[in-house]
């Protein structure tokens, strides 16, 4: 039977080229550390890589956002805490005024002190965090509360709105970021500023006036503010939990993504050394077979 005279030149050298190409590809995998360096190498893995990185990036970005948002919520919470402190002071002053043992000078003095507390609460209601007014609803560029002292009792005007902003976590959870000022400070059922203004007016001319009724109202207002504070505390908790969950998921998915795309160094090294020995073997075969023909012997 006849033999292909071009076998060494065509087939074997073709096989030699193939082993060299394999070695090149394997050494590239070793140096880059990536098993999948082109989408054609493993299309399914490449597609999964896109969705995994998408989730990882979302989680990372959310974690960064929450650290900024936490600051705003903390400031809101501590502001409300200060308001509660002020209101407690106001209550004890009012109780003192209502017990009937004080004279008109003392009552006027209490009125002045209550006025100071009202101013303090007003300023707390107009707190801004990094240029954003916290209690204006979505009208955050100007102070939400203005005071008109020309009337008696003084009137407080709310310039904000009732808008509530939420932050959406990667899980889809909505977290409340603010409480509108008209809900905290001038709610119809528990009007903090209104009640304070009434009390100031009550004791201003040295008599108790309707101080008792207004003190009761102030008490409910204080309880109301404490309840509002719970909403913010919840948000802080939710945000911490969401951030923690996002970080954890991000870490897990990063591990999955790395495993998916990374080269298995042990198996690549083994394949590489196999390819090398194959190359050496092929070279010896080519050398042996290309030893000439009958013409050399004639």
């Amino acid at each position: 039977m006849r033999v292909d005279p071009f076998y060494v030149a065509v087939n074997l050298s073709g096989a030699l080229d193939q082993t060299q190409a394999t070695q090149q590809q394997l050494s590239q995998e070793l140096s880059s550390g990536l098993r999948v360096s082109t989408i054609g190498t493993d299309p399914v893995a490449a597609a999964q890589n896109v969705t995994l990185l998408n989730s990882v990036d979302q989680d990372d970005s959310f974690t960064q956002t929450t650290s900024l948002t936490q600051g705003q919520l903390q400031v809101t919470d501590s502001t409300l805490g200060s308001v509660v402190t002020q209101l407690n002071q106001a209550l004890s002053l009012a109780d003192e005024a209502n017990n009937g043992t004080l004279n008109s000078t003392d009552l006027k003095s209490i009125s002045n002190q209550l006025s100071g507390i009202r101013d303090e609460v007003l300023s707390l209601a107009n707190t801004a965090y990094q240029g954003v007014y916290l209690f204006g609803g979505s009208q955050t560029s100007g102070a939400p509360f203005t005071l008109d002292s020309s009337t008696s009792p003084a009137t407080v005007t709310y310039n904000g709105n009732s808008d509530v902003n939420t932050l959406v976590a990667p899980t889809g959870q909505s977290i409340q970021l603010n409480i509108p000022g008209n809900q905290v400070f001038t709610a119809a059922t528990a009007n903090v500023l209104g009640t304070l203004n009434s009390l100031v007016a009550d004791y201003a001319n040295g008599t108790a006036g309707s101080g008792v009724a207004d003190t009761t109202a102030l008490n409910s207002a204080l309880n109301y503010v404490s309840q509002q504070r719970v909403t913010i505390d919840n948000s802080i908790g939710q945000l911490t939990d969401a951030s923690g969950a996002a970080t954890e998921q991000g870490t897990q998915l990063t591990t999955v993504q790395t495993d998916l795309m990374q080269a298995d160094f042990a198996s690549v090294s083994t394949q590489y050394s196999l390819a090398q020995s194959q190359q050496t073997a092929l070279i010896s075969v080519i050398t042996a077979l290309g030893q000439g023909s009958l013409f050399n012997k004639l």
Partner: protein
């Protein structure tokens, strides 16, 4: 009874025959490295015997030349496999270039990756939710939009450029095909006039070489016609060359893409599925690239129109209610929107983060924009999943073509071996033939000397002066 002179003639014919056989052998040896050459075997034919008184007396041997050892069926099979293999190779080369536009990102290297850009863009809206009036966060939305638009448009431009370059290659291949079909027609004519009934030897080698080159460039069907002629058609059935006539393929521009014609028929799509280098080139140009480009266009169009709609359905920082403006340029149609995608908004205050009628510190429109990332706004998928599908479709086609190419290359090599075994020159064979013919020549010349001596003796019978 024979005569001495007839014996001498007989041996002379042997000497001539051996010499001719040696010529054939040396021709084989000189063409030993020529892969297009088909080895020849000397054709020995016994001369017609002469009948004298009913006795047959031999009159020697003639070598009528070399007979090429080829199997036309095997050659044709090899050509057909080469067509398929060449098509697969050129398609794979184009797809490899195409896939380089979509290298997988890793968490450490994300530059230029469209998937990452999509995620980052929607993430900037999530950040904006927490601080809607923050200028830095608004700037971040615009700059991530710019990165997304530039990566998409750059990729689309690269795809368009590759398409143009493939167009160029196709034209080059077609002109090579036309040259070959002309040469083939000429060889056909020569073969039909010089050896219409038998293998044409060197001319046939030339024809087979033309056919082999042709089948690597374009998919062809070969039909042998009468008087050793040949017709070549495309695999789609259009006539390229028939005996002495070659029909050139012409080209024309259709919507910026070169189409190819035989006579009046547009054969472009037939060529794409027909095999040969041009088959792979046209498949890449007319199917693979347009499919990917269409997906990119869908992605660009979907993101641009949806984001623009959301931005025009809110309130921006300047207080504009419902006409804040477009962030991306508004594409009029899906086709071409990827290459043209840019960011037209320059003022970050024009990003409408607030809802209609709400104060400027509201974030509900930013929430709506961020939510687009989770909605099936593009081809029934979220933007990220749509891109993931684009990657997987392209990657699968590269992977399939790679596998197919490896198999086809192996089968071509196998057939090549079979053809070479039959038609290749084996130096060992030629060396032993050389020895054989040389010894035969020596034997014949030895017989000649003896006959010469016998002739001299015959002349010298009964003569006083001797002749030697």
């Amino acid at each position: 009874m024979g005569t001495i002179s007839s014996a001498i003639n007989l041996i002379t014919s042997a000497l001539n025959a051996d010499q001719a056989a040696l010529d054939v052998t040396s021709n084989n040896v000189s063409n030993a490295s020529n892969e297009a050459y088909t080895r020849e075997v000397p054709n020995w034919s016994e001369n017609q015997p002469i009948y004298i008184n009913g006795e047959a007396i031999g009159s020697g041997v003639t070598v009528t030349g070399g007979v090429s050892q080829r199997d036309r069926v095997l050659d044709q099979r090899l050509d057909q496999q080469q067509q398929l293999s060449a098509s697969s190779t050129s398609l794979l080369s184009a797809l490899t270039t195409l896939q380089d536009n979509f290298t997988p990102a890793s968490s450490s290297s994300t530059t230029g990756d469209i998937g990452t850009d999509i995620t980052n863009f929607f993430d900037t809206y999530t950040t904006l939710e927490s601080a809607p009036s923050n200028d830095a966060d608004r700037q971040a939305v615009l700059s991530s939009a710019t990165t997304l638009a530039s990566d998409i448009s750059r990729t689309a431009a690269s795809l368009n450029a590759q398409q143009a370059s493939l167009d160029q290659s196709a034209t080059t291949v077609v002109s090579q095909v036309n040259t070959l079909t002309t040469a083939l027609a000429q060889v056909n004519q020569q073969i039909q006039s010089t050896s219409p009934n038998s293998d044409a030897g060197v001319l046939e080698d030339e024809r087979q070489s033309d056919l082999s080159q042709l089948s690597q460039l374009i998919g062809i069907n070969q039909v042998t016609t009468e008087q050793n002629g040949m017709s070549v058609t495309t695999t789609g059935g259009q006539l390229l060359a028939s005996e002495g006539t070659a029909i050139p393929i012409t080209s024309g521009d259709v919507d910026g893409v070169t189409h190819f014609y035989l006579g009046q028929t547009d054969i472009t799509s037939a060529l794409a599925s027909g095999g040969g280098q041009i088959g792979g080139i046209l498949t890449a140009r007319d199917q693979s690239i347009p499919t990917t480009l269409a997906s990119l266009d869908q992605l660009a169009y979907g993101i641009a129109t949806n984001i623009n709609t959301v931005n025009n359905a809110g309130t921006d920082l300047d207080g504009d209610n419902g006409n804040a403006g477009n962030i991306f340029n508004a594409p009029t149609q899906v086709a071409g929107s990827a290459a043209a995608l840019t960011v037209v908004m320059t003022d970050p205050n024009k990003i409408a983060a607030a809802g209609i009628g709400d104060g400027t510190g509201d974030n509900s429109n930013a929430v709506a924009a961020a939510n687009l990332a989770k909605q099936n706004i593009i081809g029934g998928e979220t933007p990220s999943n749509f891109y993931s599908n684009l990657v997987s479709t392209l990657g699968s086609s590269v992977s399939e073509t790679t596998t197919e190419n490896t198999a086809l290359t192996a089968s071509v090599t196998q057939l090549q071996t079979q053809v070479s075994s039959l038609s290749g020159v084996s130096l060992d064979d030629e060396a032993s033939n050389l020895e054989l013919f040389q010894r035969a020549y020596q034997a014949a010349s030895q017989v000649f000397s003896i006959l010469n001596t016998v002739y001299a003796s015959a002349i010298n019978i009964g003569v006083e002066t001797a002749v030697s």
